[in-house]
């Protein structure tokens, strides 16, 4: 009897263990299956707007200061301390900032979100690990470090100052020599960026790098000759493919969009009316004008006093020489590359995004 039962028990035991083995992963699945009110999975909605944090921060503050509102508190101009709803400590600095400045001389770091109600010039080397908000013009000290800084008017970062996360000015933003802008920097007015500044993502109506001199006026289009380009295969009525390199001679004019498998070289003072794409190196000599976009899979160099109207994208390194202008007044554009080096004197209207490192060269 036992001899016949043993294999049966063994078989049943094996079946039970097997079922258990396969069933175990099903337990969380079956429990989860019974939930009916799950949310749909998210579709990515990050639009990558460089003003993202700046746009959210004022409404974040408004949530915490309801009665009285932040504007009322700032109008009163009295000092106040407390904690926001998320337990972040904050300190409202009185309008003239005398008490705050007195204290700032003996401590190196402000352990609270600092809200300035009046215009102030801050001492050197002061750190703001909880960020700062200025209702009026704010000037940081030299080598100051701020986690983030929001200015309702103009902001000035003095020599060697660092922003760790983001900075936004509703007016103009001035960044002096040797500052470091980690994260996003934006201004609703213009932005002036001094030599030796490191940056990642910048956005303003007009970005001036270093000292900008009077722009060089290009020769009129009527003085240019029609370019003779190498054999190009038409992809459509206005787009042409070039299997090798594309070279547009100096002082010539070319119409149409071009896609080159090789390198692209645009000669001095040449004018291209169309978009350009190169899988290799892209070089544009001084004074050339591209009325369109420039896309490169490799390195790109934009010569002195060039004018580019459309977006500029480089797959590796991008160098922008002095006097170059990208975008136009009222016509913003985007400049994107892993590594961007900009010489003083260049102007960009719109957005600059150095995915790895951006740097303004010293004069």
């Amino acid at each position: 009897m036992s001899a016949t039962l043993t294999p049966l028990v063994a078989l049943l035991a094996l079946l039970a263990v097997t079922l258990l083995w396969f069933g175990l992963p099903m337990i969380p699945a079956i429990l989860e299956m019974r939930r009916r009110r799950a949310e749909p999975l998210s579709a990515d909605r990050d639009d990558g707007d460089p003003r993202h944090f700046a746009a959210l921060f004022p409404s974040f503050l408004e949530l915490h200061f309801r009665d009285p509102s932040l504007d009322d508190l700032l109008r009163r101009g009295a000092a106040q301390e407390g904690r926001l709803n998320d337990r972040t400590p904050y300190r409202i600095v009185e309008t003239d900032g005398s008490v705050f400045l007195e204290r700032a001389r003996i401590i190196s770091s402000i352990p609270a979100l600092t809200i300035f109600s009046g215009a102030l010039s801050l001492p050197d080397h002061l750190k703001f690990p909880f960020g700062a908000y200025g209702a009026a013009d704010i000037e940081t000290g030299r080598h100051a470090i701020v986690r983030f800084l929001y200015g309702r008017r103009n902001l000035r970062l003095k020599e060697g100052a660092s922003v760790l996360s983001w900075i936004h000015a509703e007016g103009a933003l001035t960044v002096e020599d040797g500052c470091a802008l980690h994260g996003w920097a934006s201004a609703e007015g213009s932005m002036q960026i001094g030599p030796g500044v490191e940056f990642e993502r910048l956005h303003a109506e007009r970005l001036e790098f270093g000292h900008v001199s009077t722009p060089v006026i290009p020769p009129p289009a009527s003085e240019l000759l029609a370019a003779r380009l190498p054999a190009a295969r038409p992809m459509s009525e206005d787009c042409f493919a070039v299997d090798g390199d594309l070279e547009a001679p100096s002082q010539t004019m070319t119409h149409g969009n071009f896609v080159a498998r090789g390198h692209i070289r645009i000669g001095a003072n040449a004018r291209i009316e169309g978009d350009l794409r190169s899988d290799g190196v892209f070089q544009i000599a001084s004074g050339a004008i591209v009325v369109g976009s420039m896309i490169s899979g490799g390195d790109m160099e934009i010569g002195a006093n060039c004018q580019i109207h459309g977006p500029v994208l480089a797959g590796r390194r991008l160098r922008i020489r002095t006097g170059a202008q990208i975008g136009r007044e009222g016509h913003l554009t985007s400049v994107i590359a892993p590594s961007i080096v900009i010489e003083p004197g260049a102007i960009i209207y719109g957005t600059v995004w150095a995915r790895e490192k951006g740097f303004v060269e010293a004069s």
Binding site: P25, M26, P28, A29, L31, E32, M33, R35, R36, R37, A38, E39, P40, L41, S42, A43, D44, R45, D46, D47, G48, D49, P50, H203, R233, P234, M235, S236, E237, D238, C239, A241, D243, N257, F258, V259, R261, G274, D275, L276, R277, G292, S293, I295, H309, G310, P311, L313, G315, G327, H331, L332, T333, S334, I336, Y349, G350, T351, W353, R355
Partner: protein
């Protein structure tokens, strides 16, 4: 060894090799999506002189879905003066036409309805007719059962600053009214698809001049976008899958509807692959990577058929081939497990759920087996059913069709 056995052996070798290659590809894609740095060069373009865009919305009896889509499109962040909506009332016999007229009366500067009362049935034919009315350089095609995100148009249009880009496909996430078990499994499967840049095309944009250069929309195609995407690639244009351009699609409500949707999708992909796959692989000027990409795209589509094919061939060989290579069996088992079995589904779903930042859907992973079974059955059924004969006639972009001319006068 008889010729018959040799034939069976060659078939089995080819099927097993295809399955194994596809498995490697799927792992490579998933690992690359998880670990590699992703160069999405166009995603950062937030400031530009945005081109004028016309959004075509083919709608056949879509009175319920259309208002929701139009409301969403009127709210997008794209510059108002550069986006025109052209909904196509494609021979509807419900209130679709009157709903469109009501919207046009309210937003006359932004919505121009096109009432299509005659002509060849089908979305591709409707698109071909409506494209003739468009002057703008960029054409956006949105299915009526979609709800686009607020930034989706900007993200779809940004790649067109690259003159090589001919078309851009967006990413689609399902959304259903009933958030039950079925809807959540479909969520997971869509997340799987997100890892593979298929030309789903339910939200897509195309450059008008590029479309004209390949002869316009193909009115015979099972899916006009997929067909156009293949022909654009043959013409040297780049087709971009823009993962960030997300929109929601109304998900099917049951397994039968899901199987039907999968069959339609499989047929459209297979039709395009059969028509253009080999040409894409052998085209002049293509790089090795492009050729390999084309080959793997074909292997992806053929794997669901190769799988039961390999099983049948190996069972037949077991009985007729005395010297059957034993290595075939473990290779088939491994290949099947990796490329089409639970490992692939779980691995991709797990990776996708991780990318969805801590979604609880990851707990449902073991149940993807049932979804996988429906997928396999639907794709095999779609693959072995006959295809309509292709026509060489394409609708030409830029020429207004007679039906449209009558309407616009």
């Amino acid at each position: 060894m008889s010729a018959f056995v040799t034939f069976l052996r060659c078939g089995a070798y080819a099927a097993v090799a295809l399955i194994c290659l596809n498995g490697i590809r799927r792992y490579w894609l998933t690992l690359s999506r998880l670990m590699a740095r992703h160069a999405n060069p166009y995603a950062g373009i937030d400031s530009a002189d945005w081109p004028h865009v016309t959004a075509l919305i083919p709608a056949h009896n879509e009175r319920l879905a259309l208002p929701r889509l139009l409301d969403a499109l009127l709210e997008v962040t794209y510059p108002r003066d550069r986006l025109r909506l052209l909904p196509i009332n494609d021979r509807s016999d419900d209130r679709t036409g009157s709903i469109l007229d009501r919207y046009a009366a309210r937003h006359g500067d932004r919505i121009t309805p096109f009432h299509r009362k005659t002509g060849k049935p089908g979305k591709a034919a409707a698109l071909a007719d409506a494209t003739g009315l468009i002057q703008d350089e960029i054409i956006l095609v949105v299915d009526a059962n979609h709800i686009p995100g607020t930034d989706v148009i900007r993200q779809l249009v940004a790649p067109f600053f690259d003159p090589r880009v001919g078309a851009v496909m967006g990413h689609v996430a399902p959304r259903s009214v009933e958030r039950g078990f079925f809807a959540r499994l479909v969520d997971l499967e869509h997340l799987n698809m997100r890892l593979v840049p298929l030309c789903a095309g339910t939200i897509a944009a195309v450059r008008k001049t590029a479309l004209a250069s390949i002869g316009g929309w193909n009115a015979d195609a099972a899916c006009a976008h997929t067909d156009a995407a293949f022909r654009l690639a043959l013409g040297g244009w780049q087709v971009v899958h823009e993962n960030l351009a997300g929109s929601f699609e109304e998900a099917p409500t049951g397994w039968a509807a899901r199987a039907l949707q999968l069959q339609r999708r499989t047929r459209s992909h297979l039709q395009s692959l059969l028509r253009y796959g080999a040409r894409l692989m052998l085209r002049r000027n293509a790089t090795l990577a492009e050729r390999l990409g084309s080959f793997f795209l074909m292997s992806e589509a053929l794997t669901p058929v190769a799988l039961p094919g390999a099983w049948i061939l190996l069972v037949a060989l077991f009985f007729v081939d005395a010297h059957l290579p034993r290595a075939l069996f473990p290779a088939l088992a491994l290949g099947t497990w990796v490329s089409a079995g639970n490992i692939a589904a779980c691995f991709e779903a797990g990776a996708a759920a991780r990318l969805a930042r801590g979604s609880r859907e990851i707990l449902l992973m073991p149940l993807t087996f049932f979804g996988g079974a429906v997928n396999l059955t639907a794709t095999v059924a779609a693959t072995i059913s006959p295809f309509p004969k292709p026509s060489s006639e394409h609708a030409t972009v830029g020429e207004t069709p007679p039906s449209a001319q009558r309407r616009t006068k």
